[in-house]
């Protein structure tokens, strides 16, 4: 069976500038799919092509097997929730939600029923008669969602749906969005530049940079197995080192890391001996000890320490001068003396061979 949404080699240029370059991806029915990337990387442009506001310069888009080329926005079974919500300021909440329904062959009572259902879904029934400027930001966001869902689209596009909300409300709304998606079964494509949001919400994520898709995968795949340095550093934090492959033995690689002044063993990837690579380490994969452990280890001095409550971030300077970040969970309750290490302590950093990420240089 063909995929529900298929984007094949889609590019979009504005004059000489290529905003989206050769994007190919497919989305399954009922999935929450995120487009994640920095500002200006072409996320909104891609979404606008799906909604029909922009025509691709090249490439094709299929929805449910139907070629979308030349189909105007008003006849696509796709609805969009705008970054600015774009509520109609002169209409009540109720009228906003019901607006799209006038294009359907529904009786008056059916229409009212649908609006009521939607108000219920987003818990806005008491606010039905208010105008958009009479409700709060979070409520506006829910009106926008209800309005986009009212016509029961096959595909819902959400452009930074939570960007305008404060942190607390955002976390709450994330789960609300997920539960609404689960209840309605509509396929969601969510644009975001917030990696945590993408990780929480999505079944799969496409990471974009300068108009190109860098990697598509589940949150775990993207976090644990990034395919290049951009993805590795965009999702979560990372410390990376130049390295050279010395030997390859089955699944294991021997890497010479000049910054460590020695060699380490890793398990990733298939690079030939002699090739230049990047060794990338996530702070939480590093273990800090006072004694020298066996396996991959390197010595350094605690330069800086930030206490976050549940964990602490250490910045450790190696003998070569390189700076490494490491997280340690604060397992023991107590004062400074209970910490793994303190300022200016000599410590050992170690990591499991399977925990290191090896990327092309």
């Amino acid at each position: 069976m063909a995929e529900f949404l298929q984007i094949e080699g889609v590019s979009k240029s504005f004059g000489p500038f290529q905003a989206v370059r050769d994007v190919t991806l497919s989305v399954a029915q009922g999935e929450i799919f995120s487009l994640l990337g920095g500002s200006g990387c072409g996320k909104t442009t891609l979404l606008r092509m799906l909604a029909g506001f922009e025509e691709p310069t090249s490439g094709r888009i299929f929805l449910d097997g139907r070629d979308m080329a030349g189909v105007p926005p008003w006849s696509r079974p796709v609805h969009m929730m705008f970054q600015s919500y774009a509520l109609f300021p002169h209409m009540t909440v109720e009228a906003n939600i019901g607006y799209g329904l006038k294009h359907e062959t529904l009786s008056k009572t059916q229409r009212a029923e649908r609006v009521r259902e939607m108000l219920d879904l987003v818990q806005l029934t008491p606010f039905a008669a208010r105008k958009p400027h009479q409700i709060s930001g979070g409520q506006r966001q829910r009106v926008a969602l209800a309005r986009a869902l009212a016509r029961q689209p096959k595909l819902l596009l959400l452009d930074e749906p939570l960007a305008a909300l404060d942190k607390k409300l955002r976390e709450h709304t994330q789960f609300e969005l997920m539960s609404i998606q689960a209840r309605t079964g509509v396929t969601f494509i969510v644009v975001t530049h917030d990696q945590e949001e993408a990780m929480t919400l999505s079944d799969r994520i496409a990471v974009m940079d300068r108009g190109q898709v860098q990697q598509i995968g589940s949150p775990t795949e993207i976090y644990e197995y990034p395919v290049n340095r951009f993805v590795a550093s965009f999702i979560g934090s990372i410390t990376s080192f130049e390295a050279e492959v010395m030997a390859r033995d089955g699944g294991a690689l021997r890497l010479k890391v000049p910054a460590f002044g020695g060699e380490v063993t890793t398990k990733d990837a298939n690079f030939a001996p002699g090739s230049k690579v990047t060794l990338a380490l996530r702070p939480e994969k590093l273990v800090i000890t006072k004694e020298r452990p066996s396996g991959n280890a390197v010595q350094g001095v605690v330069k800086d320490l930030a206490y976050f409550g549940k964990d602490s971030l250490y910045r450790i300077t190696l003998a070569s001068g390189a700076l490494v970040q490491a997280h340690a969970v604060n397992q023991h309750r107590g004062t400074e003396t209970q910490r793994v290490a303190d300022w200016d302590d000599q410590v050992w950093l170690s990591f499991d061979p399977a925990a290191a990420i090896v990327l092309g240089a």
Partner: protein
């Protein structure tokens, strides 16, 4: 060291006096019992009585109002459409030329506009035999052409600062462009359209220059009547008429101010309501 800005204050006082003293003296002298406009002869309201008894004034006022209503309404419709076309359809041929053409009449001297309208009507009359006589229709047409650009400018400014996304949202929800125009664009910019209409109305109501070029026998608007009467010497009934006009304008300004204050107060109350009921 601080100095009082004496110079600035006196300039300001002089400026205000220059503007308001003539109006004030006009109002005072409209209650003058004397025939002579410049000699005070005691208090009287007889000139107001004379004014209301004067059929000529009534007819001129009616004609002025008729022209103002018709021309400002048509100018508003055309001006609004032109404004929307200029802002929303950014890629039609000759757009730059067209937008230049729209703003040119704003800075064109009225005499030029008036003369050219007159010449145009004369040419038309010799080509197609119309207009046989200048009057209501020609004045109205001339007023439409030059007040339309004010409406266009106001509508354009309003549209430029309105969020394009709400129109796209309506389109996304299934409305075709003309439906979006009717359901969303026009209601959202309606305050700008209304103020455009008001501006066109006032411009038409008090125009002398263009009207005098495009009028014909028997079609005397109120400003033309005042103008022609003043040429024969200022009489107290002119003072009375002008005072009434000042009164009308004053009341209009006060009503507009009150309405705007109310709207602002309501908006603030609404905002407080929104934050109190935050879910």
């Amino acid at each position: 060291m601080r100095r009082r800005p004496t110079f600035l204050l006196s300039v300001l006082a002089f400026g205000f006096a220059f503007f308001y003293v003539p109006i004030l003296s006009m109002v005072v002298y409209s209650f003058n019992a004397s025939r002579l406009a410049t000699v005070w002869g005691g208090f009287s309201t007889k000139w107001y009585g004379a004014l209301f008894a004067n059929k000529q004034v009534g007819e001129a006022l009616l004609l002025s109002l008729k022209i103002a209503v018709v021309s400002s309404t048509i100018a508003t419709i055309l001006g609004t459409l032109a404004g929307i076309a200029l802002v929303r359809f950014t890629k039609f041929r000759g757009r730059t030329l067209f937008s230049g053409l729209v703003t040119a009449p704003l800075i064109m001297p009225e005499v030029i506009t008036g003369v050219s309208a007159l010449i145009f009507f004369l040419l038309l009359a010799s080509w197609i035999g119309w207009p046989v006589q200048r009057g209501f229709t020609t004045i109205t047409l001339a007023h439409i052409t030059f007040s339309m650009v004010f409406v266009t400018t106001i509508v354009q400014a309003r549209l430029l600062q309105s969020d394009r996304a709400i129109e796209e949202a309506a389109m996304d929800l299934g409305s075709r462009p003309w439906q979006v125009l009717w359901d969303i664009t026009l209601p959202v910019i309606s305050p700008a359209i209304l103020s455009g209409w008001l501006l066109a109305f006032t411009i038409s109501l008090d125009d002398v220059v263009i009207t005098s070029f495009t009028t014909g026998p028997g079609s005397t608007t109120l400003p033309l009547l005042i103008w022609s009467k003043v040429k024969l010497g200022v009489t107290p009934d002119i003072n009375a008429l002008a005072t009434l006009m000042v009164l009308c304008v004053g009341i209009g300004v006060i009503i507009a101010g009150v309405v705007m204050n109310r709207a602002e107060a309501r908006r603030l109350a609404d905002e407080r309501l929104a934050y109190r009921s935050q879910a």
